[in-house]
């Protein structure tokens, strides 16, 4: 008797839940397929993740970075906050804070295919932002990412070209 009373309420409840599950799955899969920053649906590899986390991101010296800059083979990535970036940055650099790095992966991958090297920098020898941005980019499969430790100060002291403004 109890089951007879409950089933007319329970059945529509389960049906409603199943509809939402199915719609969510459909939208999620389609959205992931069409978005540039989509991920491989079954491609998670814990082994690769551990390897990437243990991998040390190579550092580059100021002189090497400047030579590449002169040859126009490098894209500088300023990992600092937008205000510091607007106050001054390496000429031609783009501002990618670690939290936003994933959004740029599709654009940067195209540049990587064209042979560009990416150099992240921030301000101060202990600044973690350049490492964090570089790490996210590596996780996203961007090759040739290097870090210019204490990059902003070194670049500024050397008197190399800088720019101001948001772009």
């Amino acid at each position: 008797m109890t089951q007879n009373n409950l089933s007319p309420k329970l059945y529509p409840t389960f049906r409603e839940g199943s509809i939402i599950l199915a719609v969510a799955l459909f939208i999620a899969v389609v959205f992931n397929l069409i978005r540039p920053a989509g991920i491989n649906m079954f491609g998670f590899s814990s082994a690769a993740l551990i390897k990437e986390q243990q991998a040390k991101i190579p550092e580059i010296s100021l002189w090497e970075a400047y030579s590449l800059y002169l040859k126009n083979k490098v894209i500088f990535i300023d990992a600092r906050d937008p205000l510091s970036f607007a106050y001054g940055h390496i000429t031609g650099a783009i501002n990618i804070y670690p939290d936003d790095a994933a959004f740029y992966s599709a654009k940067l991958r195209i540049k990587a295919d064209q042979g560009f090297i990416f150099i992240t920098y921030c301000d101060g020898p202990q600044c973690p932002l350049s490492k964090e941005t570089a790490h996210v980019l590596l996780l996203r499969g961007i090759p040739n990412v290097k870090i210019l430790v204490n990059g902003w100060i070194l670049w500024l002291k050397a008197g190399y070209p800088i720019a101001k403004g948001k772009k």
Binding site: E16, I20, L21, A28, A37, F44, L49, D99, V136
Partner: protein
């Protein structure tokens, strides 16, 4: 459009408040994860509960489920089914949290995307409160029509 039955009786009004609160929480959590699926996948992996092959799929699917639950809760369609799903989700989250708190793992909660804090008993209490709110909505929610004629 007229307001009726407002603010009494208390229980349907409280269910409405719970429903909208849950919707805001789900929406915020879902959008944060949709923006950063890779980071959310890593957060799921850190719980050490699922095999690799389902982690990315869950990282893609779960945020959209949360956003759809939020939308349904706000609009008031399929409320029973959605609040049941919501209760089940919070129960699953609470179980996963408990297992890792007992294990002593110091990992990111991943509750609101990559920038969430590390897991703690507070998060478990929060999940259980939200579970109770979902059950309350499941049982007592009367929809928008109850308040608007």
């Amino acid at each position: 459009m007229k307001l009726r039955n407002f603010p009494r009786p208390f229980i349907p009004l409280f269910a409405l408040i719970c429903r909208l609160t849950l919707a805001i929480i789900f929406f915020y959590a879902g959008v944060e994860k949709i923006l950063h699926p890779q980071e959310f996948a890593v957060a799921i992996y850190n719980y050490q509960l699922l095999p690799d092959c389902v982690i990315n799929l869950l990282a893609i699917f779960l945020p959209w489920l949360e956003v759809l639950i939020a939308a349904s809760l706000v609009i008031g369609i399929n409320t029973r089914g959605v609040s049941l799903l919501s209760a089940l989700l919070f129960l699953i989250f609470a179980t996963a949290l408990t297992i890792n708190l007992v294990r002593g793992l110091d990992i990111s909660c991943g509750c609101f995307g990559a920038s969430s804090g590390n897991i703690s008993w507070f998060y478990l209490a929060r999940d259980l409160s939200l579970f109770c709110m979902s059950v309350f909505v499941l049982i007592y929610d009367r929809g928008w029509r109850y308040f608007f004629a």
